[in-house]
């Protein structure tokens, strides 16, 4: 019933350049979904939960999350969204960050992150990774949200 509803991409990334590069490469992969960009965790969470056109009230979403945010750790954002009582807990989250520390990666998966991607410094691999993510996004089936159903 919501299959025709477009999936919003919510990108939480404090680095303007990274955001731009990610967006460019997603577009290059042929993904034309709306991308909402937030530079910090607070505004992103507010949009996710409160905004009338946000995913809590309006349609499915996919979240791209950086771990290094100015106001809070990306892991905190991840933990909040994946909390048991959160209506958005089934929203897929792709953690996209520079950290390749094993412990950090494990922690993210433990918190419920769906995909963890390390931003490669080498641009070719970076673009590659994002484009593959784009391909992945084009086939991904985003779960229905209870509110959207109702």
């Amino acid at each position: 019933m919501n299959t025709h509803q477009p999936v919003n991409i919510i990108m939480v990334e404090d680095d303007e350049g990274h955001a731009r590069l990610i967006e460019k490469n997603i577009r290059r992969a042929g993904i034309s979904n709306t991308i909402h960009h937030f530079r910090d965790g607070t505004s992103a969470l507010e949009y996710l939960h409160e905004a009338p056109d946000g995913p809590a009230h309006n349609g499915p979403a996919l979240i791209l999350l950086d771990l290094n945010l100015p106001d809070m750790s990306g892991a905190d954002v991840l933990g909040r969204i994946k909390a048991a009582d959160n209506p958005l807990r089934r929203t897929p989250i792709v953690v996209l960050t520079t950290t390749d520390d094993k412990i950090e990666i494990q922690r993210c998966y433990d918190l419920g992150c769906n995909v963890y991607i390390t931003k490669p410094v080498n641009y070719e691999s970076f673009a590659d990774a994002i484009r593959q993510l784009g391909l992945f996004l084009s086939v991904i089936q985003v779960p229905d949200l209870p509110e959207a159903n109702g």
Partner: protein
């Protein structure tokens, strides 16, 4: 006490030596605990003062000297006593000889008188018999008293008297025998005979008195020497008791102070362990902080680098598009694009992009190196038994292709000791060193790499010696710094390998150093503990 101070000195020696060796601060921090311990124990060991020690030794020596002196005195006194006894004995002999002489004289007189009275021949026999002994007895007295001039004078008088009186006595006896008894009796009545014996008695009495006087003197001397002997023995006994009591007192004192210092040491040791643990935790914390710092910094530096590289690529793509468009414009409207614009698009832009790219790539490698170092620092050390021969051979096998290509002789010269350490860290250390040796060979001569190993004072020492191009003396420390290299920069590399190697060696509780001369090859020396302690989880 002596042994204790000696062992304390012995314990101090190596510590002070290791301080003077100019060991780096890392190792000093590493050894701080042990050093502290030694210093503390020394402090307790010097509690008894030196002057007191000397006093005690002096007193004991004095006591024994006194004992020796007493012994000698006693010996001397016994000798003296013996001498006195012999003198007393001599006196008695003299007295007895005098008494014998008197008795014989009396017997002769009695025999003469009996003969004069009775005319019985037996009395005459008695007289003659006694008379026969008189002079020998006198001679004996004279011999015995030869040492005493007074007695000699008395003896001379005694002899003279005997000589003057005896002829009268003999004459009276001879008269009786020849039947002229009356003449004999008359002769006897003549006072000479009687006087003789009386005078003789008196003279003998004088002599005996003299001997008694001597006896008294000698008795007194004997008694004196005996008294002295007893006094000496008493003194010796007193000294013995004093020395004994003193020794016991000193021993008790030492035992008490030993026990006290042992307790103090035990207490200090307990404190020390706490102090060492605290310090270790502090160092660990500082180390962790540095690791974290390196990690965060390198990560945060990566983030802008992603942008630089990303947008450089974007720029390149854009420039390529621009160039293509310029080409198209050129075809349609030649002359529209001026020389400057063309060279900007065709040369300046690609050149700038190329430089940005190589620089960022280099920066990325450096950041990765720091990251690797910091990650290595966080890795847990897992010691296991390592056959170093096998380790070196496996490292050589890894580089076999290069060794063969460059025709380098690789040999393990001596049987290498087996150590207990972290396999991965040791592999990396050996790999780095062997790789360096291969990398910096001298082009002119056939390469040679020799591995030696030995154990010295619980430390395993491995040497990787090559005959390559060598390292200038001034760079011997520098090459172990991060991003620093030495000599002609004709080989690829970032100056990370040796810094990493040294960090690993420190991590395993070891050190690494180099001996080299430019053009003469280099010998890298790894000094590792035979058993690397497993570390606690940070």
């Amino acid at each position: 006490m002596m042994a204790r101070s000696r062992s304390a000195k012995a314990a101090k020696a190596p510590v002070s030596r290791s301080c003077c060796d100019g060991v780096r601060s890392f190792e000093i921090a590493h050894n701080a605990g042990i050093q502290l311990k030694v210093r503390l124990s020394l402090k307790t060991a010097t509690v008894p003062d030196t002057w007191f020690n000397r006093l005690v030794i002096g007193a004991v020596a004095l006591g024994f000297l006194a004992l020796l002196a007493t012994g000698l005195t006693a010996y001397h006194l016994v000798q003296e006593n013996q001498f006195h006894s012999s003198r007393v004995n001599h006196t008695f002999q003299v007295e007895r000889a005098i008494t014998d002489f008197l008795a014989t004289m009396e017997r002769a007189e009695a025999g003469r008188r009996g003969y004069l009275l009775t005319g019985v021949a037996a009395h005459a026999e008695t007289f003659y018999d006694a008379r026969k002994h008189l002079f020998p007895l006198l001679t004996r007295i004279r011999d015995l008293t030869r040492d005493n001039p007074r007695e000699q004078a008395s003896v001379a008088r005694l002899i003279a008297l005997t000589r003057s009186d005896l002829p009268f006595m003999e004459q009276s006896v001879a008269l009786v025998r020849s039947g002229r008894r009356d003449e004999g009796v008359r002769l006897f009545r003549n006072s000479v005979g009687r006087r003789a014996i009386t005078v003789l008695r008196a003279q003998a009495a004088v002599m005996i008195d003299e001997e008694n006087r001597l006896l008294a003197i000698r008795d007194a001397a004997t008694a004196g020497s005996i008294r002295l002997f007893y006094a000496t023995v008493a003194a010796a006994g007193t000294i013995l008791v004093l020395v004994g009591a003193g020794s016991i007192w000193v021993i008790l004192g030492y035992t008490r102070s030993l026990a006290a210092s042992r307790d103090a040491l035990r207490r200090l040791n307990a404190d020390l362990e706490g102090a060492v643990r605290e310090r270790t935790t502090e160092l660990q914390r500082a180390n962790d902080e540095i690791q974290r710092f390196a990690y965060i910094v390198s990560h945060d530096m990566r983030s802008p680098l992603v942008n630089v590289m990303g947008f450089t690529s974007e720029l390149e793509t854009a420039a390529r598009k621009l160039r293509a468009m310029m080409d198209r414009v050129d075809q349609k409207a030649p002359g529209l694009i001026d020389k400057d614009a063309r060279s900007a698009a065709n040369e300046d832009l690609p050149e700038a992009i190329r430089f940005i790219r190589t620089s960022t790539e280099k920066m990325d490698r450096l950041i990765n190196a720091i990251l690797r170092l910091s990650r290595e620092g966080r890795r847990r050390i897992a010691p296991e038994t390592l056959d170093m021969n096998a380790m070196f051979l496996s490292v050589a096998d890894t580089h076999r292709h290069q060794l063969d290509m460059k025709e380098i002789d690789f040999s393990v010269v001596s049987r290498l000791p087996t150590i207990i350490s972290d396999r991965l860290a040791i592999e990396q250390i050996l790999g780095n060193l062997v790789e360096n040796a291969i990398k910096y060979m001298s082009p002119g001569r056939r390469g040679r790499i020799e591995i030696r190993g030995r154990i010295e004072n619980q430390r395993a020492i491995f040497e990787i010696a090559d005959n390559g191009r060598g390292i200038d003396c001034k760079d011997h420390e520098r090459i172990f710094d991060l991003f620093r290299r030495s000599g002609v920069q004709d080989q690829p590399g970032e100056g990370i390998g040796l810094a990493h190697t040294r960090a690993l060696a420190y991590r395993l509780g070891g050190t690494i150093s180099v001996d080299s001369e430019l053009g003469r090859g280099a010998t890298f020396r790894i000094n590792l503990p035979v058993t690397c302690p497993a570390e606690q989880e940070a």
